[in-house]
Symmetry: C2
Subunit: 186 residues, 2 copies
């Protein structure tokens, strides 16, 4: 037993998600989030660097999924290793669809949050590029493949979020990859 209710970070996350969904990101103050979590504004900033960060706090796992899949992929062309990462992500997202949609609705409704998301996505592209270089892929191929992976992920994700027909993320990625090869061939 500790002096305070445990799980402060979790409570802050929940409170923030609820309030953002109820009233919109910039209609909610940090003090309100903290109050609903039974904590103080100052404590909020000890757990999250800023007001937006809580929506991206588990970004490390996200990147690791891609990187691990790339590292574990059998030898072959870089885009195939990246593809392994894409499928790993799709498998992770698919069962969490309701949560992911809710979160994305919040993000898409506010520019600051979109900025932050793009920063995280660019970090993903760079991490994939590094993972490819670790497999011996030279520049500029590694960076191009990393960013191409991001292109496929990002456009496929948008289609998956918008889909109303229950299509799987995986099938959208498969289609996008095929289409990309046609487009890139010029």
């Amino acid at each position: 037993m500790s002096r305070w209710e445990p799980g402060a970070q979790e409570r802050l996350s929940r409170a923030a998600m609820e309030l953002y969904a109820e009233r919109g990101f910039d209609e909610v103050t940090v003090a309100e989030i903290a109050a609903r979590a039974g904590l103080t504004e100052r404590t909020f900033f000890r757990h999250f660097g800023d007001k937006a960060e809580m929506l991206f706090a588990n970004g490390g796992n996200f990147v690791a999924m891609f990187v691990d899949a790339i590292a574990a992929a059998p030898p072959g062309p870089p885009l195939e290793a990246v593809t392994a990462g894409l499928y790993a992500a799709a498998a992770d997202f698919e069962p969490r669809r309701p949560f992911v949609l809710e979160r994305q609705k919040i993000i898409n409704s506010h520019t600051d949050l979109m900025e932050r998301e793009l920063l995280k996505l660019s970090a993903l592209a760079e991490a994939m590029s590094v993972a490819l270089r670790d497999r011996g892929v030279a520049e500029p191929a590694a960076s191009l493949a990393g960013w191409t992976g991001l292109t496929v992920f990002h456009t496929s994700f948008a289609r998956w979020v918008a889909a109303t027909d229950g299509r799987t993320f995986e099938s959208i990625i498969t289609e996008s990859l095929a289409e990309l090869k046609v487009v890139a061939a010029g």
Copy 2:
């Protein structure tokens, strides 16, 4: 003759660039920028939406260059229209290299500025996608080509900025495009 010195926006831009370069983005207050420009903090925010925006204020022209080049490109595969946009941008950047490098140094030194830059770049990718759809390119090919254009631009730009051997932006783009085709072929 008007009541005040003309060119307030220009003065604010210059003052900000100087101060950001001298002391770093977040060591400079808006009040200081305004004072150096002979204006008031309140006036600063009438010209620029926020402290970062001045570094991206001419982003409209930038996007327009790509979009116009895509619209004007002869009929052909989408990636060739995008390529026309890339070369147009390279021609625009090349003679302004010293300024571009200085600006990029500031941006790369601060996360908030990188976020904003990525937002502008994603707007570029979306604008290119729209321009391609206007030429009759279907989805998802249009989005994939637009974001692939961004991939080539962004990675080539980074190499051009880092280059110490005086290589031209155009030659880097040509090389990146060739490499991209190899990578995407899988």
